[in-house]
Amino acid sequence: MSNPFFRDKNIIDVVKYKWLWITISLLLIVPGIIAMIYSTVINHSPMKLGIDFTGGTMLQYGFKKELTSSDVANIRKSLESAGIENPVIQLEQTNNEMKVKIEATKANIGASEDTKIIEKASQAKKSNINSIVSIRTRFLDSEKSNNEIAKINQALENQFGNYELLQTSSIGPTLGNELFKNALFALLLSFIAIVGYLTFRFKADYAMFALIALLHDALFVCGVFAILGLLFNVEIDSLFITAILTVIGFSVHDTIVVFDRIRENSRFLAKKMSFNDIVNASVNQTLARSINTSLTALITLLALYFLGGSTTKNFVFAMILGIAIGTYSSIFNASTFLAMWRSKDIRKRKPATA
């Protein structure tokens, strides 16, 4: 026991409590899996899919007037009379959040950009939006005579006066399907690429447990969004897939740091210590780094979440969840699984070598 880490009382014996970590992981993941199964039964997809994947139209309007829920009911009525069935309408009060500081914008864009943008800024400042209405429907035809979007615009203007079109998004149903397939393909391809790279740089069993850890992390994030989808109609879009891929990258990032230390330690300490002890030492040696790295990433993400634009909020939230769970799994799951696997491996091999 010449290793200094075993004299330290603060050391966490991660391998000893392996069943505790597995139980915590199950508690984190199983509710999400149940939600995904439930959602598949009632909605035919494990998470609520946004228009990116199903095809459809999303229109977002800003109004000076403060709208109420009875106004929303009126909007619904007029949409349905225009032949647009089951629109999803959301109302949000902004509390003057949309006020834009012209000076700041001017400075940000720089002197080289011309006055056009600054004019827009002053328009925006004047507009003082108080309510934001988001309408989500099936794919609306917006070409030629049957311009359904124009009809909605007209109906809203008639009811509530001037509005500002904040953003619109329309995706044809066939394209939506294609985007969804592409996203799944990207996900699958990156799994294969990561496992391939890790097998090349480490060993096949390291790669396998890194894969299990990242699946664990991806499942947790998907599960939380499945639950949010069922409870609050939160939808997933292309950006969500990006978030999952980034989480996977981070998860592997964390796992690699621990594995790299195990690899290094086992090169020099294999004769003196059991593999379990090597894993424990390695996890503890990298603990400060794992936590500090996640903290810095979380600091920037939390700043983005609370202060950043509204369009990337869900995206950032998915990454916050993913990075937190990624740190957990790299410390407590990936390495303990590796230790469990290696100890079983040795037991199996013993009779053969004896």
């Binding site: 010449s2 290793n3 200094p4 004299r7 949309m98 834009v100 940000n108 720089g110 056009k116 827009k120 800024a121 925006a124 917006s142 070409e143 615009n153 500002e164 079109l165 904040l166 953003q167 329309s170 995706i171 044809g172 394209l175 985007l179 592409n182 996203a183 990207a186 391809l189 990156s190 690429a193 990561i194 790279y197 890790l198 292309s238 950006l239 990006t242 891929l245 980034t246 990258g249 592997v252 990032h253 690699i256 740091v257 230390r261 290094e264 020099f268 903290l295 810095t296 990433a297 600091i299 920037t300 939390l302 700043a303 983005l304 609370f306 950043g308 634009g309 369009t311 990337t312 995206f315």
Partner: protein, 435 residues
């Protein structure tokens, strides 16, 4: 030592160049930040052709470019995507409906004559004379002062028109515009001059209608029909709001990370913070030089890469602290910290770059922006977090034993205790291994 001075000069030069670039070049902002419309058109295969060819797509692109240019907006983009799609980006258009009117409409002009149908009713049939035979269209007025579209045929069209009017003397000839009957005058005598005019039927045209139709006719009919399959537009208010918010989020995030590094890692933390600022300058200069269009997702990728840039320094400093605890000299400890952390940094950054590459190849444009900024960020951070930090560390600390453990956030007792334990042989010490 000479090498180190050269490196320092190189870093300072890089910083100077970056600052010059940042001050002189404009930032390219994406449509989601300045507001604008982004449309994807898909060519529809006409019934009479078996396959959409490259030539068809090229002429469609040409026609669409013509129309987009008619909008009079700077920095528009028409780009071929995949087999049969066109991506159209129009910045600063606050009303997407207007953009679409120009793109989706065909401005189809056709001259038709009357023939008896099977049921004995007269029907309009095509004469073969159409918008393709025009040389140009202009705005005009008729004898009673109504706005009209004046048509000038090309040589072939003039001849066709003369033949047609000669054949139809005493009979009506109809002008169909976008499939709608505009007028059907009875031909009095052959028209030989090669020009004609369209009046807007009983209600007449407004000046706006005439102008739009003239523009569309001059831009040329679409060679094959195209359908809008994707459309995104962001109003200027939301865009500005996003710029402003991302800027604040980025500043606050950066400030908090720097504060954390300072408190936890002390003097090395300050060096990491300087490296981080240099990182920010280089990245911004790269964005401006390439140029990379900054979108909201791209900014998110950049802010995330700040977190990853710091990670490399955390790995190195943790390792250096361990080596110092084991009683090594400053120079050895710093070198061991960098050398031993390198494989972790390299392997983990490689996996990030691999996922970024896949995202870039398969993703939609939002996703592409994110992947690109993150990948560039990770690569630049390998330089600033390793080379720049190492250089500064050696310059500042030099060699010899650590006299002020507080500089590294360590306590004197910690070092002593470890020093007693460590009895490693020189070979292992060089590798930074703990026994």
């Amino acid at each position: 030592m000479k090498n180190r001075k050269f490196m320092l000069l190189f870093i300072l030069g890089l910083v100077a160049v970056s600052i010059v670039i940042i001050l002189t070049k404009p930032t390219k902002l994406g449509l989601d930040l300045i507001g604008g419309s982004r449309l994807v058109l898909e060519a529809q295969k006409p019934a009479n052709v078996s396959k959409i060819t490259d030539e068809m797509m090229n002429s469609l692109q040409f026609a669409i470019e013509n129309r987009v240019n008619k909008l009079g907006v700077a920095e528009t983009l028409v780009q071929r995507v995949g087999e049969d799609r066109l991506l159209v980006e129009i910045p600063n258009i606050s009303d997407p409906q207007k953009a679409k009117e120009y793109l989706g409409e065909t401005a189809e002009l056709e001259f038709k004559e009357q023939k008896m149908g099977f049921n004995g009713e007269p029907t309009w049939v095509s004469t073969g004379l159409s918008g393709k035979d025009l040389s140009k269209a202009t705005v005009g007025t008729d004898s009673v002062g109504h706005w009209t579209v004046l048509l000038q045929f090309n040589d072939k069209g003039s001849k066709k028109f003369a033949d047609l009017t000669a054949r139809l003397v005493g009979k009506p000839m109809a002008i169909f515009f976008n499939g709608e009957l505009q007028s059907a005058p009875v031909i009095q005598e052959p028209i030989l001059g090669g020009s004609a005019q369209i009046s807007g039927g009983q209600e007449g045209f407004t000046i706006e209608e005439v102008r739009k139709n003239v523009d569309l006719l001059n831009a040329g009919a679409l060679p094959i029909p195209a359908k809008i399959i994707e459309e995104n537009s962001v109003g200027p208010t939301l865009g500005l709001d996003s710029i402003e918010k991302s800027k604040i989020a980025g500043m606050v995030g950066l400030a908090l990370v720097m504060l954390f590094m300072l408190i936890y890692y002390r003097v090395p933390g300050i060096i990491a913070n300087i490296a981080l600022l240099i990182y920010g300058l280089i990245i911004f200069a790269i964005f401006k030089v390439v140029p990379i269009t900054l979108t909201l997702a791209g900014i998110a990728g950049f802010i995330l890469s700040i977190g990853m840039a710091v990670d490399a320094n955390i790995l190195i400093f943790e390792r250096t602290k361990e080596e110092l605890k084991a009683g090594r000299t400053l120079f050895t400890a710093i070198n061991a910290g960098f050398d031993r952390a390198f494989t972790s940094i390299f392997d983990s950054n490689m996996t990030t770059i691999i996922t970024c590459m896949i995202l870039y190849l398969l993703g939609t444009s939002i996703v592409k922006g994110f992947a690109l900024t993150l990948a560039i960020g990770v690569m630049v951070s390998m330089f600033t977090a390793i080379t720049v930090t190492k250089n500064f560390m050696h310059l500042l600390f030099g060699t010899g034993q650590l006299k002020n453990p507080g500089w590294f956030g360590l306590k004197k007792e910690q070092i002593k205790k470890m020093f007693e334990v460590a009895d490693t042989d020189p070979r292992k010490a060089k590798l930074g291994v703990l026994d």
